[in-house]
């Protein structure tokens, strides 16, 4: 029985259990709804939950555990000659056994016979059926594969039987509990609570898992390259990670990348903050509700544009434009039509990233400015202050902590932004202060180190994880600090 069929049957049992529970609660109460502690629907849900949930848990457990068990059982039957050659060979053999097992299911009995007595080539026969083997098959593999198939089949039948039994038993147990005074409602509530807790723990556990994997890979990197060299190195020259070139070491200096990241983020913020903030002040303080209802969503459309599109924009429009205009300017002043702004440069990436950030700055600041109580505005206007005096002297100071928080959140986005800088900033890892020259960022280098053929044992690849964890720590610190400020600010007016 396939897993999806099993799931369908469990679902049907669940639906049946629901109606059985409902009906039973009605009969137990003598059809008087008022005597029931919980509505019939809750009794139905209670029974359905008992029928479905334990069965699903058993099913999930079985699906996780049985492949592990079968693998180890098959592995232990592999010939000693294979087992003695170490883990990698055993893994390879096991992989082939599984491929053969898949293939055997597609062959008919006579073909299996010809393979067993050696009159047909295993690899060619299977290839004809669309199953590719990594190497020449060996006789022991066919045997192991047959054992594997048999165990899988047995496991499947056993699983179906056990799961269905659990479902029916659960339903019957629950339906016996249903009485007029039974608190089905509270039981359902507890299941709801449980599922909400599970959902949030999945999110948190995933985060912890990601951090854990980054940390362990970064740890492997730091066992090859010293942290001091990484964090304080000023040269980024990782060389190539070619197979067998393990002795060749590159230089993994973080500083040029970090410098580029912060520089580009700074240019972007310098561009986005004034524009975004002024837009927010206009939207919050001056715009009529009608205009605001049109203009604000329009501004926020900018936030919905995928960053790769901003990347094109930088690459094909802004970069060439800056390059050409700089050439013209240079020509007008010195007579030499040589551009002084490169098409890929800190300025290009900064401006385009700034455009991307405008809606973040304006939307967050707008929320914060509108949170400033109306009473403060009235107080200032009532004293004869103009609108802009009110904004400058009362509203912005009152909203300042919140705005700073919003800007920090935006900055952490700028630091972590990838696609725009990949296309617009260039790849040259160097430390310099001329915004018209290309620089590169941490994210760009992560992309570079992780594209192409990868070998997860060389520092050239593993450095991506060290870069990743550095970036993660920076943005996390910015976010936490920003949230702290924003929360503190909220308390002020609540």
């Amino acid at each position: 029985m396939s897993t999806s069929l099993l799931l369908l049957i469990i679902a049907l049992i669940g639906i049946g259990a629901y109606f059985a529970g409902r009906a039973r609660s009605l009969t137990r109460s003598g059809n008087k709804l008022a005597t029931l502690h919980s509505l019939p629907g809750y009794h139905g849900s209670y029974v359905a939950i008992w029928a479905v949930l334990p069965a699903l848990l058993v099913l999930a457990g079985w699906l996780i555990a049985s492949p592990i068990y079968i693998d180890s059982a098959v592995r232990s039957t592999l010939p000693d000659a294979v087992q003695s050659q170490g883990d990698a060979t055993v893994q390879l053999a096991l992989g082939q056994v599984k491929a053969v097992a898949t293939g055997l299911n597609r062959l008919d009995a006579t073909e299996i016979e010809t393979i067993k007595d050696g009159s047909a080539n295993l690899r060619e026969t299977l290839a004809a059926r669309g199953v590719a083997l990594a190497g020449e098959g060996q006789p022991f593999m066919v045997e192991a594969a047959e054992r594997f198939n048999a165990m899988r089949l047995y496991s499947r039948w056993l699983m179906s039987a056990v799961v269905l039994l659990v479902a029916i038993a659960g339903g019957l147990y629950a339906i016996r509990n249903v009485t007029a005074r039974f608190r089905a409602r509270n039981q359902v509530e507890r299941v709801m609570l449980g599922s909400l807790v599970v959902a949030s723990s999945i999110a948190i556990l995933t985060t912890i898992g990601i951090i854990g994997s980054m940390l362990s890979e970064a740890g492997r990197f730091f066992s090859m390259v010293s942290p001091a060299e990484f964090f304080f190195g000023t040269v980024w020259d990782p060389r190539f990670a070619a197979a067998g070139s393990e002795g060749a070491s590159g230089q993994f200096g973080l500083l040029p990348l970090l410098g580029g990241t912060l520089y580009i983020a700074f240019v972007a913020m310098a561009f986005a903050v004034p524009i975004g903030l002024f837009a927010a002040i206009y939207m919050a303080e001056y715009a009529s509700p009608r205009l605001r209802s049109i203009a604000k969503p329009l501004l926020e459309v900018l936030a919905g544009i995928p960053t790769i599109v901003y990347g094109f924009f930088a690459l094909v429009t802004v970069g060439p434009f800056l390059r050409d205009i700089s050439a013209q300017l240079n020509g007008l002043i010195t007579g030499n039509y040589q551009n002084f702004i490169q098409a890929q440069s800190v300025l290009t990436a900064g401006i385009v990233m700034g455009i991307m950030l405008i809606p973040f700055v304006s939307s967050l600041s707008d929320d914060i400015i509108t949170q400033v109580p109306r009473a403060l505005r009235d107080g200032s206007l009532g004293l004869g202050a103009t609108r802009s005096e009110t904004v400058k002297k009362v509203i912005l100071p009152a909203a300042l902590p919140g705005i700073v928080g919003a800007l920090l959140l935006t900055a952490s986005r700028a630091v972590g932004e990838t696609m725009i800088v990949v296309l617009a900033a260039g790849v040259a890892a160097r430390m310099q202060i001329n915004p018209f020259e290309p620089m590169t960022t941490v994210t760009v280098k992560i992309v570079h180190q992780l594209t192409g053929d990868l070998e997860f044992t060389s520092p050239q690849t593993l450095v991506a994880f060290a870069l990743g964890i550095t970036l993660f720590v920076i943005t996390l610190a910015l976010n936490i600090y920003a949230l702290y400020i924003v929360r503190k600010y909220r308390e002020q007016y609540e």
Partner: protein, 268 residues
């Protein structure tokens, strides 16, 4: 002269005092909805005028027309004529910012700025350029706080935030803030509704004293407060001015039945 004697002298003068503001056929619309119907109400100089009436009767709306605070409300339209010393305040040549400096306002909820006490009071003089030197500002702050009866309580902590004061102190700070601009008229929109009885008593006492220098218009829900602090009372109902009279007469022998009912607590 004793306080009672001052009171009496002022009361006698009352019918002869000049008019500070004149409202003629004032109507207010919020979008399609009409909130005030042709109100004719005069505000006498150096007098406390109380506006009373049940919730939603238009008394706050009328108050806010007097310094054009209604301008900040979307879709709000005012017709009719309101003059301040013979100047039509809705005339296009009037600078609304200057008007609000002449007609100050104190709000229902104390709304000190999140700044120091000193900066709260010096805010108005600073934007209107009423003082130049630090000494001038110091003097304005001190006299304003004294007029608001707050000086002795806060003189040692002028640099502390105004939001750290108690509710009653905050409201007196807001009055000091309004006084600092030297307005001619002070509008008060239920200034005591967020205060406890003791703080209320202090603010009422303060209103009494301010009357010597300012013309005051106060909106209140409390009959007792209107009777205690005002010399003239105007009763609003459903956007209409029902009756306007001397406070004494209003609370003992009103002309209009609706006033009688409201004061007796039969509705509202």
């Amino acid at each position: 002269m004793s306080e009672a004697a001052v009171e009496k002298a002022l009361d006698q003068k009352m019918n002869t005092v000049p008019l500070k503001m004149i409202g003629k056929d004032v109507s207010v619309y919020y979008g399609e909805k009409r909130a005030l119907f042709d109100v004719n109400l005069d505000i006498r100089e150096n007098t406390v005028t109380a506006l009373i009436g049940p919730s939603g009767c238009g008394k706050s709306t009328f108050l806010r027309t007097l310094n054009r605070m209604n301008d900040t409300i979307e879709n709000c339209r005012v017709t009719g004529r309101i003059t301040l010393d013979e100047d039509d305040i809705y005339d296009s040549s009037i600078d609304v910012v200057e008007l609000r400096a002449r007609v100050g306002m104190v709000f229902q909820k104390p709304n000190p700025f999140p700044k120091s006490i000193y900066e709260n009071v010096s805010y108005g003089p600073r934007i209107h350029g009423l003082a130049r030197t630090k000494a001038d500002f110091d003097e304005i702050v001190e006299t304003s706080l004294q007029k608001a009866g707050l000086w002795n309580e806060v003189k040692d902590r002028l640099q502390e935030p105004g939001t750290g004061l108690s509710g009653g102190q905050q409201q007196r700070l807001c009055i000091a803030r309004a006084v600092a601009v030297s307005p001619e008229v002070i509008l008060m929109d239920e200034p005591c509704s967020a205060l406890d009885p003791i703080a209320t008593a202090k603010v009422e006492e303060l209103i009494h004293e301010l009357r010597a220098n300012f013309t005051i218009v106060i909106v209140t829900h409390s009959m007792q407060q209107a009777a205690r602090v005002s010399q003239r009372t105007a009763m609003f109902h459903l956007g209409n001015l029902v009756e306007e009279n001397d406070t004494d007469k209003m609370f003992t022998n009103p002309d209009d039945q609706r006033t009688q009912d409201y004061i007796m607590g039969r509705f509202g």
